[in-house]
Symmetry: C2
Subunit: 268 residues, 2 copies
């Protein structure tokens, strides 16, 4: 018996007392068949990934956005579909924890919640504590972030939208910057129902693209398609690792926030 299998049995044993009465186990559900055929230690990752249909995930993301916000929406679109397609251990994860990321975490408008939720789901099925697992998972997530910064989004139209939504380019993965860019591009207000709908489409778009990346990786065909803009690469020559200043760290596009409008760089 492998260590992971043994550990999983120990973990499952922690839950068994409440599901047995007088020594009789509760009848195994359809999902339990998966648990038997695909034993996994629920605390170890990555969990087994089964390729999902991107459009199904997108549609679910749109619906889940209206249930629990952007972060929950994207996470539930992916993990909820894996609950349906794979069963355990996905069925035991508290997906509603991810509501916390709504509106850039509890409305703080920092990181876009759709990216936050999708990144967590992507890491769950590809990552791990060990460097050799973490690196490839981070590469997938970084590609999702760069795609979000550079592409006109949302690019997923749900089957039954409340409004028609035009896209914009966020340039930055932050909630309030992304919202402001869309408000500027469309003339809509930040707290309008149209903006909420836009974030629903965006949640769907992010979840769908995350699954496209996961599917590509599952096929051994993942390759990053978006690189850092040349202007940001120039910033790095003075501010990034090994540079003269080395006074910050980032892999996002600097120009989405810095030196916009009338702000100028200090004299070099």
């Amino acid at each position: 018996m492998k260590e992971s299998r043994r550990s999983w049995l120990k973990g499952a044993g922690q839950m068994v007392a409440a599901s047995t009465i007088g020594g009789l186990a509760v009848a195994a559900s359809r999902d339990a068949v998966h648990a038997t055929s695909k034993p996994e230690n629920p605390t170890d990752i990555p969990w087994s990934y089964k390729k999902l249909d991107p459009d199904t995930v997108g549609e679910r993301g749109y619906g889940s956005y209206y249930k629990g916000g952007c972060c929950f929406g994207a996470f539930d679109a992916i993990v909820g579909e894996l609950q349906r397609e794979v069963g355990a251990p996905y069925t035991a994860i508290p997906t509603s924890m991810m509501v916390y990321g709504e509106g850039g975490v509890a409305g703080n408008s920092t990181l876009c919640g759709a990216l936050n939720g999708a990144a967590a789901a992507m890491f769950l099925v590809t990552g791990g504590l060990a460097k050799e697992k973490k690196g490839p998972a981070f590469a997938l997530i970084r590609e999702l972030f760069s795609w979000y910064e550079q592409e006109p989004l949302p690019d997923f139209r749900p089957a039954k939208p409340k409004f028609e939504i035009r896209p914009s380019v966020a340039r930055v993965p932050l909630c309030h910057v992304s919202v402001s860019a869309w408000c500027k591009a469309t003339g809509s207000k930040a707290f309008s129902p149209e903006r909420a709908e836009r974030c629903g489409w965006l949640t769907a778009s992010v979840a769908k693209h995350a699954v496209e990346l996961l599917n590509a990786q599952a096929d051994g065909k993942f390759k990053a398609a978006h690189t850092l803009p040349a202007a940001a690469a120039t910033c790095r020559t003075c501010h990034d690792q090994g540079s003269a200043l080395e006074n910050t760290r980032a892999s996002m596009e600097c120009g989405g926030c810095h030196f916009t409008g009338r702000q100028e760089h200090s004299k070099l």
Copy 2:
């Protein structure tokens, strides 16, 4: 039998097949006693919170930072201690999923990973999909974010530090801004081992304060101690909900990024 109990049994049943052989259940562990006495549906939140010792959580956060980064560090400091103190359902959660938030999510330097991981843990033990659960949980998380923006941090010194670390005020909950503020205040480099140590202390500080807030809420004594700076409140009069422009959304301090250095506001 309450619905939540029934749902939990169904969920637990999904894991029972692999933990029984010929109908014999695996012997219940110490944690299973908790599962019996405190039945919970693992997919429903909030999970039962037991008040934790803030210093123990801080010390664990420091150690976990060096195992899996800032986001995992803060999450594991809280949820790992609840695994130890409470047992199931905490013992089944894949804490290593939270490695994804390292360095502002996969090194993207967006949201501080310690805040991201702590916020997820706080929501797990206080929040929910329903508005009446979400609101109070968001208030706790917002207080953590405002504290992070305004206080000199880190303020937790581990028992066996690698270096002595001086604090700085981040003003913004973003990874790269927080790092740059600390580099400026101390003259240290962004990729130095001292900066890594600073983020270890910061992970510990954030996890510790998150637990102080959770403990206060458990005692019915939580009250937000940090309010939005007056300057940011002024920004909101033109840019926030119901204003003339209404072109963004945020609850963080605007001045941490905007109109710093030589950048000026356009003519009003």
